[in-house]
Symmetry: C2
Subunit: 347 residues, 2 copies
């Protein structure tokens, strides 16, 4: 039973508890038996008052406006960057350690940006800012695979195209995809349904995620570059990306071309990747095997397939990566940060 | 009226006339007013005897088995590589010039592989083999954009990830996508519908098109490398690809990273691309604008958007490319080859 009376276990708060990431975090806390002393579910006025059952106990959702963070040891934030910018400073001032799923503080020099399988060492002490940031959902699986490659062969360049699921835009994204698909199946010329996505996502692909920046890249594309550099502590790492939304409900995919400083041996590469924590290499024994978002299997692992070294350029190779964006890319990574902090007594 | 009594106009045959490519070719012949003296529609025993209305005339589909190519000036083949391997030699022996949409003869040294906007010059004389090959549907839009870039800046490397539509697998692919989508909308845990695709394509992405080769690349991926080299007459061009099927009914997309020998100026690049025949650059004036398969517009043009030069590596840039795989990638290209041959009197 994760809810314990042990006074050393943390009191936790989930801000954005009713969202895709928040509800998955709740499920993972149960699944993984994460021990906590007390729990607050927090969202906006829209959901405040709603009753949610957690481990058989009814728990009432509270409005973040006016919520008191005093007595909260860990506050998980997954309610958008705006909410984090407004309420994280208050939570920290009231003594909570914040694990933030949004982009609000990721590039802040005083805030560690953590993927426990890659750079847990930066969690040694409680961060000065009081905030640990969780990276972007496409960055996390990528850096988990880039790290061992960098150590073995050195990376010259990474070129990534993503295939990102609707759930990356929250509950409304998934619902809009389904409604749009119904509309287009009824009438192939239907314009579909827009709102969260534009144009409609059903039976289409949209090469635009998050806002456009002055240099022509999107913020999502910039995150993958900047966050990879920060997590891997490689300030000049060359990562360039096109981020594309695809009509998949859940789990992001990435086609990653990685060019190293030295020729890469495929056999050694697949063994190296398969040896990483919580990584499944689908074509370890069966050349050409691959995961897909709907068939990859265990959502708590990073899935890799189609590992190919180019015959005409053996320093370069492709990976096809599939990872549950809500678990690997957000809630599970956040909880693994909390587990690591608890293990280190760094709260 | 394309059907004419002029004895110099060709008699044409469409093998695979009932398929996605064949029916689109028929429509394009009408749309573009391609002049022909006589027309034969050819398919398998499954469709033989079916009546198809062409320009108000009823035309009976004939079985390719036993079909007599004598008197046919141009035979368009789009019935699969196996059918081409069996029947193209007969058509050529009986005097027809074949324009082949399949992969059967593309890499044959005696067979020109033609994208009229790129290498029409190889159509100067009637080819010795009697066959002109139409490239793969993902290769055609790509080489139409690579050619001017190569001439201006020289290409060091091309890294492409594709987002390929169900119609690339013919009528059965589109029907299977729709049936699978209905099944998953009814029950999110449904395994969908397989047959043409495996696993089911609806709400999923599948990084595997055509058969797997010994080197771990798929035949589709190899085609993009080998055909680009042949068309552009650059035998050492470095093109590497991951080909992915996405749940889109029609039109392929590609995220292409192109690295040149010299720094590229974005303004000059967009003007250069926009100056190509039948190419629309969506972000010529509006930075960040992009086409998508369902919203690109004119299906007879190659659509480009999200043209971005990387700040940290100005020799490299991204293009987002959308092109109707059935028109640009097959039927329109084939018909433009026929138009070019007619214009040159090379029949
Ligand atoms: N989905 C992913 O794959 C993913 C991955 C990484 C990071 N993230 C980040 O996680 C955050 C949440 O994403 P999601 O996918 O869970 O979105 P979601 O399903 O739309 O849920 C949004 C959550 O935020 C709450 N919220 C919205 N506006 C609020 C406000 N003004 N004050 C307080 N609470 C508010 C919502 O509460 P109500 O019920 O009251 O509306 C809900 O609990 C975003 O910042 C997102 O960028 C998501
Ligand atoms: N779709 C594309 O985007 C695309 C692009 C480039 C190239 N191609 C190539 O074009 C060809 C056709 O593609 P498609 O998309 O039009 O496929 P499709 O919709 O499945 O149509 C196949 C056509 O081939 C005929 N056919 C099949 N087996 C035959 C046989 N044994 N003998 C005679 N005719 C036979 C079919 O006739 P029945 O009605 O008798 O079955 C039908 O007319 C393929 O080689 C494909 O690789 C397609």
């Amino acid at each position: 039973m994760p809810r314990v009376t042990d006074p050393t276990a943390p009191h936790i708060a989930l801000v954005g508890a009713t969202g895709v990431v928040g509800t998955t975090l709740l499920r993972l806390i149960e699944e993984r038996g994460f021990r906590y002393r007390g729990l607050d579910l927090v969202a906006s006025a829209r959901s405040a008052g709603r009753e949610v059952t957690v481990e058989g106990h009814s728990c009432r959702v509270q409005d973040v406006d006016g919520f008191d963070f005093a007595g909260v040891d860990i506050a998980f934030f997954s309610a958008g960057a705006g909410v984090s910018r407004t309420f994280v400073p208050k939570a920290v001032a009231q003594g909570a350690l914040v694990i933030d799923n949004t982009s609000a503080f990721r590039m802040d020099p005083g805030t560690p940006l953590v993927v426990p399988q890659v750079n847990a060492h930066v969690l040694g002490t409680r961060p000065e800012s009081g905030v640990v940031a969780n990276p972007n959902c496409s960055t996390i699986p990528l850096v988990r695979l880039l790290r061992p490659v960098q150590e073995r062969w050195g990376i010259r360049q990474v070129v990534v195209s993503t295939y990102q699921a609707a759930s990356g835009a929250g509950y409304s994204g998934v619902e809009e995809l389904r409604a749009g698909a119904r509309s287009v199946l009824d009438d192939p010329d239907s314009a579909g349904v827009t709102g969260t996505f534009s144009p409609s996502l059903a039976f289409d692909v949209i090469p635009s995620i998050d806002r456009l920046l002055d240099d022509g890249f999107t913020f999502e594309e910039q995150k993958m570059l900047q966050e990879s550099r920060k997590i891997l502590e490689l300030p000049h790492l060359d990562v360039t990306t096109t981020c594309v939304r695809v009509p998949v409900a859940n789990s992001h995919s990435e086609a990653a071309w990685i060019e190293c400083h030295e020729p890469v041996d495929r056999g050694e590469l697949v063994r190296l990747l398969a040896g990483q924590d919580e990584v499944t290499v689908h074509d370890l024994d069966t050349v050409g095997a691959f995961p897909t978002p709907r068939t990859a299997g265990d959502p708590n692992r990073v899935h890799v397939g189609r590992v190919r070294v180019a015959a005409h350029n053996p320093r370069g190779f492709w990976l096809w990566i599939v990872a549950d964006n809500v678990r690997i890319g957000a809630a599970l990574n956040a909880l693994q940060i909390a587990e690591e902090l608890t293990r280190r007594g760094a709260l």
